[in-house]
């Protein structure tokens, strides 16, 4: 909330504005009023150009050249060879039949991860939002509890859960204390995959719960009262009123979480390192390891893989735009 300015603060503001008055007038006189706008845009354009557009273009160059040389001038042109190498499989359903089997394993892992993580996370977020939207005791407290993990850094999230789940971690200690055998939560391929999904749901659910909660609260209460007068059962109110009116919000949540799931990296990398083997290696980790962590550094292959990933993200983003636009028109 803005407080009315006291006179000292007003004086301060006026002094600052006056300081800018002279250089502004001068700049306008020098380059013309219209071009001053470009002057203001320049810093941003420079930053975007340098750190976004330039790397995109460089990436295309790397993707179409070979060898492990880092300077473009020393890299021989190979055309689409990096792409064809990535895409060469005798059976696309079997990563072992592919030339780049780890890439395909990462693709399949990412696919499963996206479907399961997004599916369950949106479901749990929806249920949580529906509960938090009702008149329950300690509503504010619970809203805070579910949102809190969102505020943690992903590395912290992963370290906390690693501490809980590792071979001699808290969870196994508890199991043993109750007389059960301990489980290799992070070194068994299936369990590790379960836990990367679980932890990323835990870490991000609060954010989507909050968005859905806002969506629920934007549904006017008189519509619910009309439904009550109309004798709708609770299930029909949910299916015929709440869900359709929540749909625009659901679409936003779905697409945002899809895009984020495709890009998942940090928590998983810290939690499992992609292992055991490549059981929890996702596409972004594959790109990172191919391009930077392995010797020789296969920049071209990594660049090609990142372009393929960008295409998927682009499709998802376009879908989102279309969905939100048709929602706005509908």
């Amino acid at each position: 909330m803005f407080q009315p300015l006291n006179s000292a603060a007003q004086l301060g503001y006026r002094t600052v504005f006056n300081l800018f008055e002279w250089p502004m007038a001068r700049a306008q006189r020098l380059v013309g009023i219209r071009r001053v706008a470009w002057l203001f845009l320049l810093p941003n354009l420079l930053i975007f150009g340098l750190f976004t557009f330039l790397p995109i273009i460089l990436n295309v160059f790397y993707a179409t050249t070979g060898s492990d040389a880092i300077l473009l001038s020393q890299r021989p042109y190979v055309g689409a060879e990096n792409f064809s190498s990535l895409l060469s499989c005798t059976d696309y359903l079997d990563p072992n039949s592919c030339r780049r089997d780890v890439f395909w394993r990462a693709v399949y892992n990412t696919g499963w991860f996206v479907v399961l993580q997004v599916g369950f996370m949106v479901l749990f977020s929806l249920i949580t939002a529906l509960i938090l939207n009702r008149d329950i005791p300690l509503k504010g407290f619970f809203r805070g509890v579910f949102f809190y993990p969102v505020l943690l850094s992903p590395v912290v999230v992963a370290l906390i859960w690693k501490w809980i789940l590792q071979r001699y971690g808290v969870f196994n200690a508890g199991l043993e204390g109750m007389g059960f055998a301990s489980v290799d939560w992070l070194t068994d391929a299936d369990w590790a995959f379960f836990w990367i999904i679980f932890v990323s749901i835990w870490a991000h659910m609060g954010f989507y719960t909050l968005i859905l909660l806002a969506g629920l609260q934007s549904i006017p209460s008189d519509v619910y009262e009309a439904a009550e007068m109309d004798g709708a059962s609770r299930w029909r109110v949910f299916a015929k009123i709440t869900m359709p009116l929540l749909m625009p919000t659901m679409v936003v949540v779905l697409v945002l979480s899809l895009i984020r799931a495709v890009q998942a990296f940090d928590e998983i990398f810290v939690l499992t390192g992609g292992g055991p083997g490549s059981a929890t290696t996702l596409i972004l980790q594959y790109i990172y390891e191919t391009g930077f962590a392995s010797r020789p550094q296969l920049f071209g292959l990594a660049a090609a893989a990142s372009i393929l990933m960008a295409v998927v993200l682009l499709v998802l983003t376009l879908l989102q735009l279309r969905a939100t636009r048709s929602q706005a028109e509908g």
Partner: protein
């Protein structure tokens, strides 16, 4: 079809009493209007009847059956909301059908009832549209249609016309009255607009701060307001009020003195007042006589000549505003001095607690 009885109904909101023990019977087929200033508890009372608001105390009966604990849908009522509250994602047809689908009405029966209601309310050509694509008046009709198709025992309206422009309001007012004549259902209608109340109601219930001030037919309320609040609320422009002292008690009238010592007669029962009491005298603008011979001297400040009628806004010598409403046109001009006379038969007298003295010669005024 339905008698609605309220017995000592009370509503508390977390320590705040919104409704203070209301007793009321609304007869079968009656058009009952709750009227009162904003915040007086009209909506709360209506929503308690509807089942949207819990009842803190007292008993609500519909056709003799206690319904306090029944859910809204079980009471067999339908409500038209001020905001229309249409389902925004459904077509008009789906909006109308929703309530019938909830109680698993057969498909062809739903279609028939929706079509009938749509025809009656002239929204047939909009059945495939969404509420967003309709004008305010059309939305209002859909909201009414949604109530009609359910064939409720009682219709409830909460300020249904307040979001419409003035012209449309008059049209819809007529249509709702017509709907009532046609269906013959009991209807309870909430408004803060006394003109709506006067023109539509069989029975008006005037509320103030969660208490009933008076119940009666529109003309009852106009002719015999029970207290100063009702007198000021019903009638437009507002009744003129002035302080006077009771000078003399007669058996069918009292003699009043104003602060400048002029005497007036008031044809009211003297029961409850004695000579020397201070009372508030009220006269409706349309009952004042303005001329040059008798009465209180005033200055005419502004005149509104509407051709068929005229409004004169005057000030008496102590600066108190007095409004005079004449039928027809007047020769008096703004800025002129004049005298207003209070005919004895038209005078309302209110005791210090606001209660009215009984008027004795209603209708004899010129």
């Amino acid at each position: 079809m339905a008698v609605v009885e309220l017995q000592n109904l009370v509503k508390d909101y977390a320590g705040f009493r919104a409704i203070h023990g209301v007793d009321l019977t609304i007869d079968d087929g009656e058009f009952c209007v709750f009227v009162g200033p904003s915040g007086c508890g009209k909506s709360t009372l209506l929503r308690m009847i509807a089942g949207l608001e819990s009842i803190t105390g007292g008993e609500l009966r519909i056709d003799g059956t206690r319904v306090n604990e029944q859910r809204a849908a079980e009471r067999g009522l339908a409500m038209v909301f001020q905001t229309y509250a249409l389902y925004p994602h459904m077509t008009v047809r789906e909006n109308l059908a929703f309530g019938l689908e909830n109680i698993k009405t057969p498909k062809d029966e739903i279609k028939k009832r929706v079509d009938d209601a749509a025809r009656m309310l002239q929204i047939e050509e909009h059945l495939t549209r969404r509420p967003k694509q309709l004008s305010g008046g059309q939305r209002q009709r859909v909201a009414i249609g949604r109530a009609v198709v359910r064939e409720p025992k009682v219709f409830l309206f909460d300020e249904p016309l307040s979001n419409l422009d003035a012209e449309l309001r008059v049209v819809m007012r007529g249509e709702i009255s017509q709907l009532h004549r046609r269906l013959g259902n009991t209807m309870i209608y909430v408004t803060h607009d006394q003109v709506e109340a006067m023109t539509m109601a069989d029975k008006i219930v005037v509320l103030k701060a969660g208490l009933i001030q008076q119940v009666g037919s529109p003309l009852d309320l106009y002719n015999r307001p029970a207290n100063q609040f009702v007198a000021g609320f019903i009638g437009s422009p507002r009744m003129n009020f002035m302080q006077m002292t009771v000078a003399e008690i007669r058996n069918d009238a009292i003699l009043l003195k104003d602060d400048e010592g002029r005497s007036f007669e008031a044809a009211v029962s003297p029961e409850g007042v004695a000579a020397g009491d201070t009372v508030t005298v009220g006269v409706r603008p349309e009952h004042l006589e303005i001329g040059t011979e008798r009465g209180r001297p005033v200055t005419v400040e502004t005149i509104e000549q509407l051709g068929g009628e005229s409004y004169l806004y005057c000030q008496d010598q102590s600066g108190r505003p007095i409004t005079v409403h004449l039928s027809g046109q007047t020769r008096i001009k703004a800025g002129e001095e004049a005298k207003v006379f209070l005919p004895a038969e038209a005078v309302h007298v209110f005791k210090e607690d606001g209660a009215a003295l009984e008027r004795l010669r209603i209708g004899e005024a010129a």
